[in-house]
Symmetry: C2
Subunit: 241 residues, 2 copies
């Protein structure tokens, strides 16, 4: 785990850029911890949505809320073809969006993403100690999260959603969903213009856990009610003991 | 409003049986209020499920929670062909269940139920003062609730669910659902063996309000998670200001 630059602390939250190496790939990430913590403790993995990056507004807000209100650390990494994995830094959303299908085209990209997440978690736990693990990811964050959770017994709780048995790795998610066995809150948007409602319900249906709840609201893909977004941190923390 | 017997107070909750007259029908009800209250204040109408009655366990628990934790009064009345509307008192669930279709067969039973609820609310507010109104009803409680809320502008918030565009007044609910314009939390059971899942989603879909959320959980009709049932009172109270 290579720390990139100096940690920055603000209002009780220490934020630290890092890279980890995974199978020759440089995986760019951010770690948030309580400013006074010396051990990782419970940690949430935060997977961002398509065309965004590891420090997207709602990822940053969720990380800060986890740390400040629940003393839960957080780790975010850039998704495939996103953020600092790109030569251009991934700040131009339209450009990243136009490359989205390409980023997910390789047949092993899902396996690579799973390996990247595990490498980041392994490195953080090796450096800072082990603790229970949560996952939060909507839309592309669920495309990464379902295969990760299916492969990774350390994940004890998750918030997923805005995705279905659909898109570039829909077939893989259909296979992996029954192996998601931790408690899951699944968010869906009733008028989602990107992911068809029935495909999202199908993904919820296939999740293997019995401790799952579907929370659906009117509105388009990115219009999850603010209260529901704010509630993510408390739900994850409540299952991290 | 005729008080039946003496009020009984326990742990801060005063419970009082009453009857009201509506279009020649005797409507049996219960009023719960804070033991020290002299005015009705905010009030929740609690509609019980099929084969049950106005003092079913979860109705009583919700009423007590509303009063104790939120200082919200509660009113429950017996549904058509249920409870004290029956000569046998409606305590034999199997017998009441076997009469269910008959109780809802009359073409005007839904209109009668709406009138009965309004008569109970009118009488309570006339006797004890006005305040904002909530509605809670699952299964048959939603069969009563959707037409009531569509007709009754006093209802500001509702928890509905375990019902769909289905059953003896499904057509009526399809007509009335678009006129439900208050915030609604809608509970659905993913493996409901009585109400088909698609019919429940259709009812949620038709509700006219934009402030609606669907909360679905695995399990059969009567297996709503206890945490979700306990959360009903807080949700209603949060919208009664």
């Amino acid at each position: 785990m290579e720390w990139i630059g100096a940690a920055v602390s603000s209002q009780g939250v220490r934020e630290q850029r890092f890279d980890v190496d995974c199978e020759g790939r440089r995986v760019p990430g951010i770690l948030w911890m309580p400013a006074d913590a010396t051990e990782l403790g419970p940690v949430a993995l935060l997977g961002h949505g398509g065309s965004l990056h590891k420090r997207a507004d709602y990822i940053l807000a969720t990380a800060r809320r986890l740390v400040r209100h629940h003393a839960v650390s957080a780790i975010a990494i850039d998704g495939p073809g996103h953020g600092d994995r790109r030569a251009d830094g991934g700040t131009d959303r339209e450009r990243v969006r136009s490359d989205f299908e390409g980023a997910w085209k390789a047949t092993d990209v899902t396996d690579q993403m799973v390996a990247d997440w595990r490498a980041a978690l392994d490195a953080a736990q090796a450096a800072l100690g082990e603790g229970p693990v949560a996952y939060f990811g909507l839309s592309m964050g669920t495309m990464m999260g379902v295969p990760l959770i299916a492969a990774e017994a350390r994940v004890r709780v998750a918030v997923l959603g805005l995705m279905g048995i659909w898109g570039p790795n829909g077939g893989r998610m259909a296979e992996d969903a029954p192996r998601v066995l931790c408690p899951v809150r699944f968010l869906a948007q009733w008028d989602d213009e990107i992911v068809p409602r029935e495909r999202a319900l199908e993904l919820f249906d296939r999740l293997g856990t019995r401790q799952k709840s579907l929370r659906a609201h009117p509105g388009r893909h990115v219009e999850v009610p603010p209260d529901e977004m704010r509630a993510v941190a408390a739900f994850l923390a409540s299952h991290l003991g």
